[in-house]
Amino acid sequence: MTIQALYCKMTKARFSEFGKAQKWIRRGASLQHFRWKYFPDRSIPSSLQALNRVVFQYLAEPLCHPARSAYVNLFAPCEILHAFDLYPMFVESLATFLNGFSCEDLAVDQSESSGLSETLCSFHKTFIGGAERGALPKPLFAMASSVLCDANTKTFLHVAKRLGIPALLIDVPYTPSPEAVRYVSDQLQDVVKQVEDISGKPFRIDRLREVLALENETKRLMAECLEALALKAFPNHLTLEMGRLMLTHTGIGRPESSQCFQALVRDIRNAPPRSGKAIFWIQVIPFFDPTLRARFNYASDYQLLGMDINFDDLEPLPLDDPLFSLAKKIVNHVFNGPFNRRIDWILGLMDRLKPDGVVYFCQWGCKQSSGGAAMMADALKTKGIPCLVLDGDAADRRNMPQGQTKTRVEAFLEMLP
């Protein structure tokens, strides 16, 4: 047994006792950060070493400083937190991290036995269970927007109520329109006031402008990565691709994120031309699945180009009215509104990235993605891009049928022209 496996086992053994596992989880994140900072794996490109380091930094910071953190979801306006120097505690990544400790079953069971629906997305069940068992620390407040799935605002309201912390919820209308932007921008004004009250810090609009400027710079680099990726063979790793979400979303606007993308642009440009098959992934990745790991992690014959959510928004934000820009960003997001928007966007992205095949993952409990699977697969196939619709669970390994995944994925890869 490796030291890491032993550490996970010992953490898991402490999970059932309230609050016991928290220290172990926090230390796990800090140790990983330490390791990537001082003893990185030199066999991988330096930009990926940096990416690993920043992912664990973003994970460890809020765990170590819960009194300066807030639970957030993927489409929460975290730029506001950065302007207040608060840390986003991104709950899907916490769920993923608990999965890394193989603790997700205990967390999911905890949520289900408290009465939550078994058909709720396992990311949310893991997070709720972890918070209720005290495995995750209690932050200052919770902040979530309703974008992307039903579970969002409900989960945050629920956990906030259980822990007795304020919940700052942003209700985002589904159809992009000027009225919708106004409604959201009203709410953001409100959020800022509430964060001022809760944290006791004053809001400085210029600080938010700086964050947005850095965000724009990062997006420019992300777009350069995208163009380079279309031609080059650059290795990737399933877990890293999931971790990257913290750079492209909750941590966007921080200097570390943009530095990382700068390094990536450099390394990808210097990589050899694409030779093997390139696969694009839609929705979350079950990074622990043995078949997928064997096929994609730092592999050259099958290159994982990336996951759609990491390319979802490359539009620069106007800096004159930062809160209004943020409202517009959330409302006009391609994941909001009719699914046709998302299909058109993916098709456009495929023109730029030119993958050999696409995997569309239907996460257990994720109605928003599962419901669009047939439409997206049809659209891709019409365009001549092979698409595999894969059912499973990227958060709870008990719902991830290994045998079936192996057969399907391997047959799909064999089938690629």
């Binding site: 939550l116 039903d150 605002t153 699914f339 257990w364 419901g371 047939a374 045998g403």
Partner: protein, 577 residues
């Protein structure tokens, strides 16, 4: 024809255009057309709506921004040429000033789009006239209920009108309904409605559904109606309910019953069991001092017959389960005279009779010697010769307590379902959960796996004891578990190890049920699976307690039924206070 789903839909506007419309309340046999278009993990209701629209040729659809399933239903309908008018109204989750302003705008925009679509013009007067202002009167109550009606509140997701009507066929009165389908629109428009603005505002401010982000949640409006019990209705793959349910469950005094339907095949038999057991437990609470006699039961006998019971000598309890019929004959000194366990077979009425005859033969008695018969179990209604039918939940609780008076938690794993009951020292039911949605964690699951392994079901328990290596069967779903077992066989894993893995998986599932009602010692295990030593060991390890195993775990329900039959020997207590 235009269909709509949600109580927040501004349907009165459609009146203004003299359009006909209906709220879609499907019950379909299966969702075959919708299958290819909407993933099977989407809400069963949303899928059934699509099926119904295609079947009934509903070509107009007005949706609200309710949930992910409805949003995807919208996308599918939008891209399907069979729909001519698909509308989507954005519904805020909040209700502060800016949310109200936004919704007012939405209603206005809906009206403008409708103006462009419909040939007839919008008649404002007709619109205002159609706004319901009065509370519709409740249906006439039963003039002679056997007991004062049970005050029930309904909440959760959608509740099919047929199901609600079926609830109403019992002596109950519905004192609140916060589901999506509350038809009581008169409730909504209480104040002055003189403009589109005031109309929209009233619509948004109605009693919130479970989707809304209201800090108080659902508890407050429900409790205001002082219900004796709350029925929490959910739809398969609808997750909204869970949050409120989890909070309500811990905090509320009135007992909660959670039921789940899938809008396709109604498993009414089991709903019946749960609903009756729920009413039984509410009635038992009305008289906590005298819980020994359960007042609720479907008395089938004539009044003369009940008086006859004083001469009672031998009674029978008969548990008609899905796989076996179990009979207990008991005399008035609580001695068990005979028992029998017979396979139910395809005709459960016949199986029940055979089992009774077998027990009678063992005791050398004939049917006329039996003074009172209580039937229980899934098929309790088919035992035409019984005097009374009582749910197996109540019977199990009674039987278990009689066998061991220190038992507080009863785990029953039968062929088709598993359930866990918590009881107090009087045998009064405190809480129960049932898993009847799928075969996972039941006897059926083990039976199917035994077949995959080409073994007899009886062999599983002993074989599991020979396990050496730990094998995980992680899948909770029977179909997935079967493929896991096959791949384990292919990996040359030892059969005892696989069997142990299977037993562990049933035990894990069951332990989760136990934690939902809360474990209180001592814990008894009953039902056919209690004979499987592998499951018993694994479960007792997980629950960290020794399980009490009755000498014959399959007849506990029948014992309870016999005990209830004996109680009927005393002059029947009036049913109402």
């Amino acid at each position: 024809m235009i269909g709509y789903l949600c109580k927040y839909t501004p349907v009165e506007i459609l009146h203004g255009f003299s359009e006909t419309f209906e709220r879609i309340e499907p019950i379909t046999q299966s969702v075959c057309c919708a299958d290819g278009m909407l993933h099977p993990n989407l809400c069963s209701y949303a899928r059934a709506v699509l099926e119904t629209c295609l079947e009934k040729k509903i070509t107009g659809l007005v949706l609200t921004n309710c949930c992910d399933s409805v949003r995807r239903l919208y996308d599918v309908a939008l891209n399907d040429p069979r729909f001519t008018w698909v509308e989507f109204i954005d519904l805020p989750r909040k209700h502060d000033a800016s949310a109200v302003a936004y919704f007012e705008g939405e209603v206005h925009r809906f009206l403008e789009r409708a103006r462009r679509f419909f040939p007839r013009s919008f008649n404002e007067e007709r619109f205002f006239r159609s706004i319901p202002r009065l509370r519709p009167s409740n249906p006439e109550p039963d003039p002679n209920p056997p007991f004062p009606p049970v005050r029930l509140a309904l909440t959760g997701a959608r509740i099919h009108p047929d199901l609600k009507a079926w609830f109403m066929s019992y002596p109950v009165s519905i004192v609140a309904d916060t589901t999506c389908t509350n038809p009581d629109r008169g409730d909504i428009f209480q104040g002055e409605i003189s403009s589109l603005k005031t109309y929209a505002r009233a619509l948004l401010n109605q009693t919130p559904c479970m989707r809304m982000n209201r800090a108080g949640g659902l508890a407050e409006p429900l409790l205001r109606s002082r219900p004796e019990g709350i029925v929490y209705q959910t739809v398969k793959f609808c997750d909204f309910y869970g949050y409120d349910y989890a909070l309500l469950r811990g905090e509320l005094e009135p007992p909660l019953l959670k039921i789940e339907t899938d809008y396709t095949t109604g498993s009414v038999g089991q709903l019946k069991t749960r609903f009756e057991a729920f009413l039984e437990s509410i009635l038992a609470r009305r008289e906590p001092k005298k819980p020994s006699s359960i007042p609720f039961g479907l008395l089938k006998g004539e009044p003369e017959m009940r008086n006859d019971l004083q001469k009672l000598r031998v009674v029978a309890g008969i548990d008609v389960g899905s796989t076996s019929v179990n009979v207990v004959l008991m005399d008035e000194n609580h001695r068990i005279l005979a028992t029998s366990i017979v396979k139910t077979g395809p005709k459960s009425g016949l199986g029940a009779r055979n089992a009774l005859d077998e027990a009678l033969a063992t005791a050398r008695l004939s049917l006329s010697d039996i003074r009172y018969i209580v039937s229980t179990g899934y098929g309790r209604a088919v035992a035409s010769f019984s005097h009374e039918a009582v749910t197996e939940i109540t019977c199990h609780a009674r039987g278990a307590l009689w066998l061991d008076r220190n038992v507080r938690t009863v785990i029953d794993i039968g062929g088709q379902d598993s359930k866990v009951m918590r009881i107090d020292s009087n045998g009064e039911l405190k809480d129960f959960v049932m898993n009847d949605k799928c075969a996972a964690g039941t006897g059926k699951f083990l039976e199917m796996m035994a077949r995959t392994l080409e073994l007899e079901i009886e062999d599983l328990g002993p074989a599991s004891l020979r396990a050496k290596e730990k094998v995980m069967i992680s899948s909770m779903c029977t179909v997935f578990a079967e493929s896991e077992v096959i791949s384990l066989i292919a990996q040359n894993k030892e059969t005892p190890d696989i069997i142990k893995g299977l037993c562990d998986s049933v035990a894990t599932r069951t332990a989760a049920l136990v934690s939902r009602v809360g474990k209180e010692e001592r814990v008894m295990m009953t039902g056919g699976v209690a004979k499987n030593v592998g499951v018993v060991n694994s479960l007792s390890e997980r629950l960290q307690t020794d399980l009490v195993l009755p000498p014959e775990p399959q007849i506990v329900g029948a014992i309870g039924a016999a005990l209830i039959a004996l109680e009927r020997g005393h002059p029947p207590r009036p049913l109402s206070e």
